[in-house]
Symmetry: C2
Subunit: 400 residues, 2 copies
């Protein structure tokens, strides 16, 4: 199947991808678009449904999987059959001419901790005298709620946060800009179809609720986090910003990426056991100022997005259109597969060398981090998830 | 100052209170109302502003403190000057005739942990071999993000949640309904005016952003929480439901309740030091099936709502209209001032006896918990916050 739209070789945004986003043409309000190659198709202009005139994907996502499949089929037809070309070309906008916005209004944001390697590495560094994994880790996908109001779209500058930190040998905390600003390379899952309070979502029903996938960078101030996080978990060390892709790749585009997750031992409780495999063979890449510093393998994640959704709702908690839940930092077994600088530099002890010869432990002002990812397709090709990029802006002292 | 509306003696909802809520008259859409006595004034019917026709308080709250003061003055005039009586009476609805809804769309929900007594009690029970307070506790208001999608209005039944628990002597966790369902009596602060990312809110600017106050019951499944909460904090043990009052009492009604908080030792960092006192002398009362089981004193809270807001944003995190942040469980120094059953029964070891002769450790199906609170007024009277009530519905096994 091929499209009449010119798609650059290796773009990863061909006819088998078709991710959704929110874009604003010049001097026009934001609306729903689908990316094809380096252009955006204005859905409100070509399909007769007011949900595409909305400034968020939420109303469309709430329409559910049958509607998603229907629209995907329609758009695929429009972009493959030459007969539509004349009508559609005025509705195609070159990417550099448009502004991309946060693709959906984030309802609740939950961040998991589902990489065995990441959790083990963090445990070794933060709690060197204990077993790296807490006793609950292999029994449930450990996670916590993050701040949805500070989820920003890829490209938004990230200001170095101020906060309280305390060196181990200090008698009292001090206040200032973080000196351990870090990234977390994650994959985020976006809920479209709400559930009702009291009705858990079964592990095999994930595709009835989850619309698609973004990349996330869960920026973290390690020094603030280390001081604040007991006993209620991370808060200010994470809440200043979380960046996500401008493009939401529909689950439908990732069918060929589905793989069995790693063997789970011990066997999880029945509510976490599914019949269908929901591991995803996504290949991530973390770039720091253009140097590839890591290639985290998502297929190695211990807990799957299906298990995470089942766990999140097993107590009767409901989900809503726009809920975002992220995988937790994706780290593989090898050093160059770790998804955070904390792990890549072993808490700053082993600096990274970038291609310009400079070295890094944690992020410096002006640094740009990009996370990209690709997934296999049924025909042996690869599609690309929306990149997530951010540049560190210097801290400005709070006016108090 | 007195109103021409008939207000029952001791109601606490006289002319010096005037809390806001969302109500639906019979067969009519929900809109903004102000409670006076046992009636609701339909603001959309008497004031010329479409914000009052909204089904949430968010648009009105976003208008800011000058507008809030203006509307309060207008409504006070309308309800005190007899000349308005004839016009207003058709816009007054008896409370039993209307349906009350969640008063605002909850954006982010942060739950603090700001009672010295509560944090100490929990530390003694959950971590008996350690100092009850973690080293950070006296330096910053410890808090975490909760689930905003499961914040429900007072009166909503609360279903006993299922989840994973593990007894200390068990080799593996088991799954089932919580056996340690608890309450947390808290006071919640509702943000009206948003801030921008990167702009912290100074501790003395709380009244520029916070619209008003609700009571919260942060229902907690202690057995689920105890197993899941390391290292990222509580999640499923809390996320199934948080109940709040149907009425938001404006900060303006609580001026006479402001008191200096307890002495903070050590002196907090400068960003947590304010010129104005933001302790609040609220008297809470917890009723279990009609028996008063506790009278928590809010004036004893260690960290104030002004400090909590300053801390929440000092890293550059923004707030939005509809953000809710709660105090954490309010517990005083005396046994009968504790704000949770966990503390009142010392983790189940010392059951409570109710007025019907029955005893309780944690909540049983059918139990009703009500939290009420009053605050002093300038003329020596007392106003009442909106009650928060919930009845426990039996667990229904998840269909998996």
């Amino acid at each position: 199947m091929s499209t009449w739209v010119a798609v650059p070789e290796g773009s990863g945004f061909g006819i088998d991808n078709l991710p959704y986003g929110i874009f604003a043409p010049p001097d026009a309000p934001a609306r729903v678009g689908i990316r094809i190659g380096d252009q955006v198709l204005d859905l409100a202009a070509v399909l007769d449904d007011t949900v595409f005139a909305a400034a968020t994907l939420n109303p469309f996502m709430a329409q559910g999987p049958r509607r998603w499949a229907d629209v995907r089929a329609q758009v695929t037809d429009l972009l493959t059959d030459e007969c539509h070309r004349e009508r559609l070309e005025p509705a195609l906008w070159p990417l550099p001419s448009v502004t991309l916005a946060l693709p959906f209004a984030v309802a609740d944001y939950v961040d998991y901790y589902s990489s065995l390697q990441h959790a083990s590495n963090v445990g070794r560094m933060f709690r060197p005298d204990e077993e790296p994994l807490k006793p609950n880790w292999r029994h449930l996908p450990v996670g916590y709620h993050g701040r949805s109001g500070t989820v920003v779209v890829s490209g938004t500058p990230v200001m170095r946060p101020h906060g309280q930190t305390k060196a181990p040998d200090a008698t009292a905390p001090s206040f200032g800009p973080t000196r351990r600003l870090d990234i977390e390379a994650e994959v985020g899952f976006v809920v479209g179809v709400a559930s009702r309070m009291g009705d858990p979502i079964a592990v095999d029903a994930v595709a009835e609720h989850v619309f698609g996938v973004v990349l996330c960078n869960d920026w973290s101030a390690r020094d603030i986090q280390a001081w604040e996080y007991v006993p209620l978990g991370p808060c200010l060390g994470k809440s200043f910003a979380t960046s996500i892709s401008a493009w939401v790749v529909p689950l439908a585009a990732l069918q060929a990426a589905r793989v069995p997750p790693p063997v789970q031992d011990p066997t999880p409780l029945p509510y976490l056991q599914g019949a269908e495999p929901w591991g995803l063979n996504l290949a991530l890449e973390v770039q720091l100022n253009g140097t590839v510093v890591s290639r985290p393998p998502f297929a190695e994640m211990y807990w799957t997005p299906a298990q995470q959704l089942a766990h999140m709702t097993v107590n009767g908690a409901s989900v809503r259109a726009g809920d975002l839940y992220a995988s937790g930092t994706v780290s593989g077994a090898e050093r160059d597969q770790r998804g955070s600088l904390l792990e890549l530099t072993w808490n700053g002890a082993e600096p990274l060398t970038l291609s310009d010869g400079s070295t890094r432990t944690f992020l410096e002002d002006g640094d740009t981090v990009s996370i990209i990812a690709t997934a296999p397709t049924a025909n042996g090709g690869r599609i690309r998830l929306g990149d997530v990029t951010g540049t560190i802006a210097p801290a400005t002292p709070p006016t108090l």
